[in-house]
Amino acid sequence: MIQVTELSKCFDGFSALSGLNVHVETGSIYGLIGVNGSGKTTLIKHLTGVYMPDAGQVTFDGEDIYENTVLKERLGYIPDDLYFFNSYSIRDMASFYRKIYPAWNEQRYRDMLREFGLPAVRKISKFSKGMQKQAAFILVMSTMPDYLILDEPIDGLDPLIRKRVWRYVVSDVAERQMTVLVSSHNLREMEGICDSIGILSEGRMMIERDLEELKTDIHKIQVAFKEEKERPLSNLNILHREKRGSVELLIVRNAGNLVKSELEKEDPAILDMLPLSLEEIFIYEMGGENSEIQSILF
């Protein structure tokens, strides 16, 4: 489990992170969402032990990550700003990684190299940006990390490669209980891959939710009643209500069964339970369509 507690960091008087809390369950994929400058990379550099916190703690299974070489041996990190030794090929880099990561898996390295189809002996600096990302992914995944931190990992990758990358990630999460934190500035990309999501804005965590729980508890309902009610649906936690003629659009946070039974009690003329996108869920969680989250994420 990755736990960030009250993390703060200032750069020359500018507060990059302020009292930040993050909680990533073991064996889950956490999506860290935020626009450019929201503090994602700063948080990631704390998670990878690069930055020392001004205040707060960053722990992996209870152990502080900063200057912890034992933990770092189990940590894989692919930054947005990739770095390989000058003039090195994937083979050269693999040779170095092999010596410093005790869990290096040679078989996986060979398999991934074959599957991704990258030349092992060509200088990485001659690769395209997408190929360099793949090279970094092959190397990091071959270290068999228990924790994987990915900063904007699929930028520049074509859909086929993205799928392949996620397959490896999901497979390791499922098989080895690898814990993953992925950052992105686009919420849509995270839908369908993440178990939980945190939205970061101006160095603060705006919201952090488990996606399954979120999707189970929030419902978009289109409903029309035969007659007007004085205090309708007062037992439900209605996040948003919008009337379009006789039809009402409701966003409700309650258990699905409860919502349905409460609505049926009112004998509606129309009752439709509509699917909610992740974007909509967050918009309504944050207070509706006028919420600043729209400007942040979409």
Binding site: T42, V50, V70, E73, Y83, F96
Partner: protein
């Protein structure tokens, strides 16, 4: 699988080896420089290796070697810590299973290995090439061939290079820790290694420009050079340097340890910025302003442009400095204006402080009671190349009186560039400190000084003369050189009494001593031309120690040097006032040295000093005070040629001054050039041997009449 973190916390061998693999090219280039500068020329001349070549190489005076040391140390430091200067590499490297300690130590060690390995390999090559190369030294008068290309000497070189590279490299690493870009890292690595030397040189420049009486302080200079083994090798020799190796290694370790603590605090997010600590931004910026303003200012000041250069250099330095440290051309804002005002204020304090002598350097005269000894060192007032040392209260008071006299007239004397005396006054204080001042004073200021007269005619002024009577004749060599022909007489050969008995030598030195004691101050400063030179070399046993650089050695007198002895040299210009000495010379068969009877000797008298100018000697500023006659060539009318040796000698002995500076100011000068006819070069070819100046008013009537006749033609 066993965790590798066990050693990754402190040192990572894989990372260190990887660095060597990554940056091998630096080492290869360094090795090539070493081989091309040393081993390669050695192989080419293997059958006739000159000792000088080996001596230069193994003493690190080979320019190629010194360039290689610097190149390797700086490049290795920049290369292995380059990962800190980029956000991507800094992030990835610190996310790897290394602690900052292991990253630092592994990088430091691999960089040092990279920097030193070529020197080590070069050392092995020199060992393989080793062959006896003999240099002649004299021990107890016996020439001994000593092999200077030994394994011990090569190993000593390897050890010294290790010290130099470790030190320079450590400063280079420190520079990388406080800067955020590779270019600035390289520049500061180089700059920090010579920062103190550059600061010292700049303050020296300020002092020379502004301080009346400023003299180069050897002690401070030595200390400045000793601050780095790289500069120290230019100053000291062999064993002296070896004794300093441990000190430099300890210093390098302390710098490296301090750098590690800076590394722990280094904000990695500052990578790609010029500097990673705020104070460094101001520090570097100010250094650029300081050096820019100082150098431009000094050049302008010397060319009479006043303070304009300081202002111009300061503004340019500030603009360039800010652009460098801020990595932007947009530097024109209020914050930078405030910084500029602060920097300008500091520079103004420095420059005005020097100009107005804020610390009282020019006016400082030590309290009488605090002076242990005071030394006057003046080429023009020396007897036997020995400065005069005084310690009696009355003499010290006389000297401080004279010093105060000079200080009171400093605004007049400051600009004096004409004829006069150079003089260094050095006070040794009871606190162990030393105060030295050097002045160039007008002739009259010295000649008419009653304080100096008292000093030079005091008993303490006789010490150099008394020293002569203490010399052991068996350890004394004496040579007489005629000033008027090419003749010389070596009275002693290799410290034996084959030519002259020790008792006869003793009589000569006693006569010399008596002349020195009887000489008045006015005679001393008269500047009369020497008729001949008397030179003495005296040796004393070095007491088991090899003579060091401080020992004065004049092997040219004997043509050899014996490392078991220390040598002292005394030289005297024998003028007509040295009556006892001249009498001894005449009575002991060396009278021919006092004549101008060399084959074809003749003198040319001209009414000016044209010859000096023809030879590139700058005419003194107040030359016109001494002659008003137009310059004429030797072959033109206006030259009076004397061929009578007796006439020539009479003129030299009674009427000549050794240079124009001493010539009495009231009269015009005649220039007397003694030529020696060289038969080897055929008829009509002559070589000037000596040049004297004649006081026209004091000339014998015959010569005056001749001169007037020639001049009127």
């Amino acid at each position: 699988m066993r965790s590798k973190a066990f050693y990754s916390n402190v040192f990572s061998l894989p990372l260190a080896l990887e660095n060597l693999k990554r940056f091998w090219a630096i080492g290869t280039v360094g090795l090539l420089i070493y081989l091309l500068s040393g081993a390669f020329p050695l192989v080419l001349s293997y059958d006739r290796i000159r000792p000088y070549m080996i001596e230069t190489m193994l003493s690190n005076h080979n320019p190629g070697y010194m360039a290689a040391h610097l190149f390797l140390a700086i490049s290795a430091a920049v290369a292995v810590f380059r990962y800190l200067q980029n956000t991507g590499s800094a992030g990835v490297m610190h996310a790897m299973p290394f602690s900052r300690k292991s990253l630092y130590l592994s990088s430091y060690a691999s960089g040092l290995t990279l920097a030193y390995l070529p020197a080590f390999i070069n050392g092995l090559v020199l060992l393989v090439l080793k062959t006896p190369v003999y240099q002649t030294v004299y021990v107890d008068n016996l020439p001994i061939q000593t092999d200077i290309y030994t394994a011990a000497n090569v190993l000593g070189w390897m050890a010294e290079v290790l010290v130099i590279i470790t030190f320079v490299y450590s400063i280079g690493v420190f520079a990388g820790m406080v800067t955020g870009s590779m270019v600035l890292h390289a520049l500061t690595a180089l700059g920090f290694n010579f920062l103190l030397t550059a600061l010292y040189a700049t303050f020296l420049g300020y002092s020379e420009i502004y301080f009346f009486g400023f003299t180069y302080n050897r002690l401070i200079s030595d200390i400045t050079l000793k601050l780095s083994p790289y500069t120290y090798v230019f100053q000291a020799e062999g064993d002296l340097r070896a004794s300093a190796w441990p000190m430099y290694m300890v210093a390098a370790v302390l710098i490296a340890a301090g750098t590690y603590f800076i590394y722990k605090k280094r904000p990695l997010e500052k990578a790609t910025e010029s500097t990673v600590f705020r104070f460094m931004e101001h520090f570097l910026s100010f250094l650029i302003v300081f050096f820019g303003s100082s150098l431009t200012g000094m050049v302008f000041y010397e060319n009479d442009y006043g303070y304009a250069g300081y202002v111009l250099g300061g503004i340019l330095g500030f603009l360039v400095g800010q652009m460098i440290v801020k990595k932007t051309l947009k530097i024109f804002d209020l914050e930078n204006l405030k910084t500029f005002v602060v920097f300008a204020g500091i520079m103004a304090v420095v420059i005005v402080g020097f100009n107005k002598d804020a610390l009282g350097y020019e006016r400082r005269i030590p309290q009488l009671g605090s002076v242990e000894t005071v030394t006057i060192d003046s080429y023009d007032l020396m007897q036997g190349n020995r400065p005069l040392v005084f310690q009696e209260t009355e003499n010290v008071r006389a000297l401080t009186d004279f010093h105060q006299f000079v200080i009171d007239r400093r605004e007049t004397y400051r600009a004096h560039q004409g004829f006069g005396f150079g003089m260094t006054l050095t006070y040794d204080l009871d606190s162990g400190n030393q105060i030295s001042r050097r002045y160039h004073l007008p002739y009259e200021a010295v000649m008419e000084s009653e304080s100096l007269r008292r000093l030079y005619e005091s008993d303490e002024a006789d010490k150099p003369a008394e020293l002569l009577s203490q010399l052991q004749m068996a350890d004394t060599e004496i040579v007489l050189f005629s000033g008027n022909n090419y003749e010389s007489e070596q009275l002693t050969m290799h410290y034996s009494d084959d030519v002259l008995s020790n008792s006869a030598k003793r009589l000569l030195l006693d006569a010399l001593s008596r002349d020195l004691k009887e000489m008045t101050f006015r005679q001393l400063v008269s500047g009369r031309a020497a008729i001949l030179q008397l030179q003495i070399q005296h040796r004393t046993e070095a007491g088991g120690k090899t003579a060091d650089a401080a020992s004065e050695t004049y092997p040219y007198m004997t043509g050899k040097e014996d490392s078991n002895y220390r040598y002292e040299f005394f030289g005297y210009g024998i003028t007509a006032e040295y009556e006892h000495t001249l009498r001894w010379i005449t009575e002991n068969g060396y009278e021919h040295l006092l004549t101008a009877t060399g084959t074809g000797d003749f003198a040319v008298i001209r009414r000016n000093c044209e010859a000096e100018e023809e030879e590139g000697i700058t005419r003194p500023a107040d030359y016109d005070r001494f002659t008003s006659v137009d310059v004429k060539h030797q072959s033109e009318p206006g030259s009076l040629v004397l061929e009578d040796p007796e006439a020539i000698m009479m003129l030299i002995r009674d009427h000549a001054y050794r240079d124009l500076r001493h010539f009495p100011a009231e009269e015009d000068a005649l220039c007397l050039t003694v030529y020696h006819r060289s038969e080897d070069k055929g008829y009509g070819m002559f070589e000037a041997t000596m040049r004297y100046y004649l006081n026209e008013a004091d000339l014998p009537e015959g010569i005056r009449a001749e001169a007037d006749r020639y001049l009127s033609e």
